[in-house]
Symmetry: none
Amino acid sequence: MEQNNKKSAILISVGDELLIGQTINSNAAWLGEKLLAFGIEVVEMITVGDNKSHMLRVLHESHQRAELVIVTGGLGPTRDDLTALVLGEYFQKNMVFNEEVFSWIKAFKMAQKKPVNELHRKQAYLPEDFIYFRNLAGTAPAMVYRDNGTIFVSLPGVPYEMKSLMNEYVFPWINKKISRKIFLTKTLHTAAVPESEIASILSDFEDNLADGLSLAYLPSLARVKIRINSRAVTEEEAKAALTKAESKIRELLGDMIYGENEDSLEGVVGRLLMEKKQFLGTAESCTGGYIAQMITSVPGASQYFNGSVVAYSNEVKMDLLGVKKTTLINHGAVSEETVVEMVKGICRRLKVENAIAVSGIAGPQGGSPEKPIGMVCLAVGNVENQVVDTVYLNHNRKLNIEKSAFLALNMLRLFLQRP
Amino acid sequence: MEQNNKKSAILISVGDELLIGQTINSNAAWLGEKLLAFGIEVVEMITVGDNKSHMLRVLHESHQRAELVIVTGGLGPTRDDLTALVLGEYFQKNMVFNEEVFSWIKAFKMAQKKPVNELHRKQAYLPEDFIYFRNLAGTAPAMVYRDNGTIFVSLPGVPYEMKSLMNEYVFPWINKKISRKIFLTKTLHTAAVPESEIASILSDFEDNLADGLSLAYLPSLARVKIRINSRAVTEEEAKAALTKAESKIRELLGDMIYGENEDSLEGVVGRLLMEKKQFLGTAESCTGGYIAQMITSVPGASQYFNGSVVAYSNEVKMDLLGVKKTTLINHGAVSEETVVEMVKGICRRLKVENAIAVSGIAGPQGGSPEKPIGMVCLAVGNVENQVVDTVYLNHNRKLNIEKSAFLALNMLRLFLQRP
């Protein structure tokens, strides 16, 4: 074993686009969260430009202080991409043509039926003695190297490439090579209840939490993630405390909770439909297909999802969904009456047992005193029974759409969970 | 004038919530962009936790290298907020009660009809000799201090408080006190061409770039942003060089470029439809509504978008889109023949002049040797003319969907731009 009194991890993000604010550094946040859940604390995050001397300096500084250094970015095929070169120079390694990496690049381009060019060949010139991991979503491989008690990891900056390489190869590889703390977490997801209300329901419970346990609330659009953190000397102790806390929270919050850890609301709705062996269709106005694409983002959605009609105009609402002209005239396209007819219409048209319908004013134009921007009518159900609701949202267009879609899906979840 | 051979700016973000990934650091990106537009280059961004020794170390390092150091965060009233204390210690200043700052805090709380408490009083204990600026959106003031050729700025971490203090006070204050460079950028967006191909087309041009000009490539799913950077002594020179480079790149890349700066592909397609006073509909299988929601994410999309049919089952493809049963039997749902019929069917059904149709295998299941996962058929056009293509993608389900949607929209753009 190498002697090691260094602590924790430092993240280095490379790229001029980060320094000039063209790209927001979401990689660092993702890595911070995942590493913590893995038991490794990030103590510093550094962003530098595509600049050799700056990169060499921060590598040197991080080498002194961290047990794990993760460098993201700078691995592309163009001349502003310097990471491989700089790592080679820093560790005094020759840059050699790596046949295996080049075969991965060729296979990747071939699967896309695209040619391999000189720049791809350049991407295969890499520092000797490093370990390489195959990138299935792009051409730049991940690389790892150990020196003087520090593990260096280099990853492409494209978020989905970086994430998949971390999950597939890097976490398993560093698993036994680095000191980790016993730190378990579990996340419960709630929908449609504000953070303040959840915190107040859990207030007494939180005041009396056992040592080593803590709660964190992570609110986002119409949902709150509750992360339970459990630290202990042994894994068994940490697990027992976590399980006990979880069951108490579930008892207190009931069906406000729709899932845990990696669950998504659309995945949970899919499971409920499969259990019932029933199908779903959506009839969408202001959400413009957003609900359909959420549902179909789940693998295997064709087992319970038949399709959708996005009815952006009144003609389509009448022609394809059978909404009555009198309903549109008397109540308007944004009304509970209209969305109820949309539910019935889509159930008949697609021959499905369950439907979601949404009509609203997403903004930034189109509001009136009686029907302001952000007013959205939501309905779920079938030809016989519907549940309907009207909400008033006050975000921008994009977030009003996302929130409407999420709330509608949550109404369907509760409808499907009814005894 | 103090002697000054330091360069540019360093940003320090303070807060455990950044290191554990609970908050994405959008402040740094905002500051990077605004400072660059102001003529000050950010050369490094550092994030540290609420930890005194780490903060002192990065202050010291930044002091050596930067002309401007901006610290955000750590100014709240709770015990984990250390920035004022640490700055005081670093510059060896006494912490004194600041009557003026306390009067601002009192006025702010009074406007909210909220009481002032002990913690607010603590927020008014601040380092001597600093200059303070009033925060109209919160209780923590901004502070600035000059030492040995470096300007230090401390700002609250709440984004809207930070931004308003920067705009109102800090930019005007540093205006004459710091060396500014002329640095202009422009970003061009290309679609459906790999980074390596673009780089190879621009290779000769890039080899002969004039002094002060540089290019950066920012690839993401099926697109590449090309950022042109132009540095010069005067704004006129920088602008002239930028304009010349842009027109040369546009000449070399032609219609690979779909937009610039803040343009989105869905926005560009919307503008083309409005110019033609025509409507669009989509018929989507594997993209599941993703294209429709992209199009309707643009404000005012109802002026050119009528709706969509998401046909996830063969029945819906036949019933609502008029795809022939024989076509599905002979060629399959994922075939160029099917998507061409989907284009014609949706044009007729929604009475629109333009359509996009997509059918493919997004994965992770459903592939076969002849039709592998990632095979996607795309068609655009109208009842008379269609353009059709088949692509082979090799990402995960989510990205295969997003890339298919983007490529289909880009095909429509090229179709609409045909002379």
